[in-house]
């Protein structure tokens, strides 16, 4: 009853989470009017990331932060995907344990 790292890296929940964090904000970067409520999670991660980075490297241009943003969002997505797969595993095991009728 474990989830391999490999499975967590490519799980559908991981990829869906990653797209949700990255795509809506990236669209807004292309054109501000494309920002939507879906951009909020990515927006918060990006703003907080730039705020922290800005304390240490105040002269760094904000576009540079897209690189750690893409990486960081993948990290968040893997955690979500891992959790989701773990829950699914448990659920499946639990239902398999039920006696057959």
């Amino acid at each position: 009853m474990t989830v391999s790292l490999r499975r967590a890296l490519t799980a559908p929940a991981t990829i869906a989470t990653y797209l949700l964090l990255v795509v809506p904000l990236a669209l807004g970067w292309l054109k501000t009017s494309l920002l939507s409520p879906l951009a909020l999670p990515g927006y918060l991660i990006y703003v907080i990331g730039t705020a922290i980075g800005n304390v240490f490297a105040s002269r760094l241009a904000f576009w540079v932060y897209w690189i750690p943003f893409f990486a960081g969002c993948y990290g968040v997505a893997v955690v979500v995907g891992y959790g989701y797969e773990l829950l699914r595993e448990r659920f499946l095991t639990a239902s398999n344990d039920e006696p057959r009728r």
Partner: protein, 269 residues
């Protein structure tokens, strides 16, 4: 199965991207469109004059006289040459805004050399540091600009700027803020602007801050020496493109003209 789920997730994302950041509350939208349409009665009269004619700094001041008497407002764009929102909106005002009362003077390219070089600073450096507390403006351009300000003796001054980050979030930046003199309507204007900021961009909400006016900035000097109600407006480049910054700047300008008696909302005409 896996591929289908991923495609479905992508489809959900693509399908929901329909709202616009520049969408505004009806009220503030009305103000911008009120500014763009002449009211009933006589058309305003526009005159132009030159600041520092026959010098490198020569730039145009547009004076729009409304048919009815009222206060005088002065608006500056391009005090920093690479802050397009003030320059773009300054030109829009000069070409097609119609105050209902009073006089609207606008200088879209205040530091014209800086504007042409697409740089923050012009020949003598940062124009917005040339208005010290004790004494005269510190450069030829600053003296020319100040002469024009004294000549028009404005009741209200608005200086339009753009920051790179967000006030209170990014230490050295002051984006989406209104700095103002003590008698100004800063909080009201911030509230009006925040109607144009979507709820899902919470850090982009405008803040109003009363300024101590003891600095060498143009709006400081206008408040100190002419008792003008003075504002410095900052939108931000942080995640905002040129059109969005311009829209924030338009809304600010129209809301300010309305609050200070130069403009009537469309319904009230």
């Amino acid at each position: 199965m896996r591929r289908r789920r991923i495609l479905a997730a992508g489809g959900v994302l693509a399908g929901t991207v329909v709202t616009s950041v520049a969408s505004r509350s009806p009220d503030e939208h009305d103000l911008v469109s009120a500014a763009r349409h002449p009211g009933s009665g006589d058309e305003p009269e526009t005159n132009t004059e030159s600041i520092l004619p026959n010098t490198d700094h020569e730039t145009t001041l547009y004076e729009i006289d409304a048919p009815r008497d009222g206060p005088t407002a002065m608006i500056f764009g391009g005090v920093h040459g690479d802050e397009y929102n003030g320059i773009d909106v300054g030109h829009e005002i000069a070409e097609g805004w119609y105050p209902d009362a009073g006089t609207l003077a606008v200088v879209p390219e205040t530091d014209r050399v800086a504007v042409e070089n697409d740089e923050r600073e012009g020949i003598d450096g940062d124009l917005n540091r040339h208005f010290p507390v004790d004494g005269d403006p510190e450069s030829e351009l600053a003296r020319g600009v100040w002469e024009a300000v004294e000549r028009h003796d404005p009741d209200v001054v608005l200086d339009l700027h753009r920051s790179l980050g967000i006030y209170g979030v990014h230490r050295q930046y002051v984006g989406q803020a209104i700095f103002h003199s003590s008698d100004a309507r800063g909080d009201e204007l911030a509230a009006a602007l925040n109607d144009a900021v979507p709820w899902y961009l919470p850090m982009h909400r405008f803040v109003a801050r009363e300024s101590h006016l003891s600095g060498p900035l143009l709006f400081h000097k206008a408040a100190r020496e002419l008792d003008a109600v003075a504002y410095l407006f900052e939108t931000t480049s942080f995640l905002f493109d040129r059109e969005t910054k311009n829209e924030m700047t338009r809304v600010m300008t129209a809301a300010l003209l309305e609050r200070h008696g130069l403009l009537e909302a469309e319904g009230k005409r």
